[in-house]
Symmetry: none
Subunit: 204 residues, 4 copies
DNA sequence: AATGAATGAGCATTCATTCAT
DNA sequence: TATGAATGAATGCTCATTCAT
């Protein structure tokens, strides 16, 4: 019994603290920018001591990386799962776009970190590109190629370029949403983007 | 005569120095990132003393802004000029895209600053958005609306959103080009983007 | 019987742990220096938890003091014991020097702590001087005075100063031995030092 | 005229500041110990801003090294110069000892740094030993060998060991003087040390 | 205008020590 | 006794900016 409770409370404590720091970091980064954020701010926001941050993360930079890694992973997993239920490549791309914008639209702070803070350094952008981001682009590309094989997308198009175009358009929607004073549902943009995009790549 | 020459050479000297600092800043920002760049680095690269930088710019941040402002202005002016010679909205958009990618493709350091360094702070992104960037998006939108009125683009499309889509796609081409190890002409991507885009927005 | 064994084993366990920490500290201090050594390093080296160290020592500094105290005590006791069997003051000083160098020569880590780490702070040096070290100098001085009374050492010499000279010479042998890349028996230096010293202080 | 004054005032300003920091460091290190001294303390004591320290020294450690280097150099130069006027090796050693103790005795803070603070790390001791210190021991040794060749010192003695003995004895005098509550002239110990030492190494 | 020495606010990180378990 | 997660005070160093020359 005791061990059961122990297991039930010890682990969560660890996970909770790491989690709390990560959440706090997203809030702090989103409001002050990565470079202007102090580790002490994150600690205060997370309700822990400064030093505690370093029990869970090696450095301030690692916190930023962790924010990216964890969310990118989740996003790709979520995306993949949703695709299983669909067969039409067009529907799949529509779903990818929707999930993309829904995720970012659901957490403004996270969106700011993804759209703005993570872009601020070539170094990070390179790893960023090398890591999960490439995987994401590949997911789009593979889905597009599926549609090409199915004959619904023009076969002469370069799938890699097409994937970037779709990603770029969605990315811009997200960035504009963040910077916009007006409040609207980010996910609502998905349809307009997909309308043009699918029209553009469809076989006549 | 002498005074005339004096006037004729002093001014340029001043302009030269400001120019030199701006150019140096682009190189330095591109290589180290804005936050990791020291004003002293820029000064050394420009061949002036640290203090001299502050005779031309109020702060490090203002240097970044100036890089953006000057180049955005030039870009829009160049774009506008090119459009005068064209009448078809489709051709105009094609030309905008080409100029966009040619400019960035012609100066990798400048491209890095525009695609990466300028994105690293919400504060800047907001001003960025408010300033020349909005003007650029408007140029695209106005051109698109022109096409709608001419009946070559679907009238039901939201021109504002369309403009973002095109910009986002081009922006992603530029960012990918920077991060890519492979060397290719950035401007060569314009056709592929426009092909899909114009197809997507065309009336049937 | 059981309680007897318990007493007989519990105590040693305690002693063992204190002992283990002290030994670990000598190793760690010798390799990293006192200020660069972390309590956590000592704990790991001793095979105990960080907090456990504080069950046996009040602070990191107390560990250093304890290293000194315990070894100085032992050294003086060992020295005194050896002297009982001798009557000639010259032989006694010879024996003191030999024991001095043998002890340090037998444990390089301990020697490093004694010759280097313990010297790094005036504060410690003062207490150091006030404590066991003064006792040690007194042992040398008393032995020398014995020789003066016996007529084998020059009576006009200041015994206190003489004691420092001998100690200084031996101390330098030890320090040099530690820093030397070459490996030689430290104790082998005793004869050369004593030869000169005894010659220097002997009545003609 | 102007340039003369410029030369006469500019250089000194630079030298003055570096010098002031070095002097301040000696005071601060002597009173608090190297590890407990803050760079800010040194700056305040020197009457400059914290950052200014780093215009003249690369790090806190470099300050300590510089204190050692500069003084050791001076000491050896001073010693060498004095020796030129003497021919008897015994007189030369007497002079070396006197200069050694006079220099340290003239500046208690400097003496503390040399006798205590510089000893606190094996790392430093090794460089210390490798650098100027070895040169100093060699000066003593060479002088002793000179005496051996002149027939005034016993030829069978190992000059290297003898040099260490003399240095060790003098070093101990200095250390004891620092730690002693009583105030006496350190240089006055030279005679007693030399009396015994020279007696000990003399040919009969 | 130009210089560059001087400034001093600012901050990530470490680590001795504590204490709930 | 023993643990080790948590604490938070402490500090070397950087660098944007100023200003006397």
């Amino acid at each position: 019994m005791r061990s059961a409770r122990s297991l039930g409370s010890d682990r969560p404590v660890i996970a909770d603290k790491r989690e709390a720091i990560l959440r706090a970091a997203i809030r702090v980064f989103a409001h002050n920018g990565y470079f202007n954020s102090k580790v002490a701010d994150i600690a205060r926001e997370a309700g822990v001591a400064d030093g505690t941050v370093y029990l869970y993360f090696k450095s301030k930079e690692e916190i930023l990386h962790s924010v990216f890694d964890r969310n990118m992973e989740e996003a790709i997993a979520a995306g993949r799962q949703q695709l299983e239920q669909l067969s039409d490549a067009r529907e799949k791309l529509r779903r990818i776009a929707l999930v993309h914008l829904e995720r970012l639209g659901a957490d403004r702070d996270l969106a700011v970190v993804f759209q703005v803070e993570l872009r601020g350094s070539t170094k990070f952008m390179e790893e960023f590109s090398a890591a999960g981001f490439a995987k994401y682009l590949n997911l789009i590309r593979a889905t597009f190629e599926e549609g090409q094989r199915a004959g619904v997308f023009r076969p002469e198009l370069n799938a890699k370029v097409v994937a970037k175009i779709l990603f770029g358009a969605l990315d811009e929607m997200a960035t504009n949403w963040i910077l916009s004073k007006r409040r609207y549902k980010l996910a609502s943009m998905a349809d307009q983007v997909l309308d043009i995009f699918l029209n553009g790549v469809a076989t006549k």
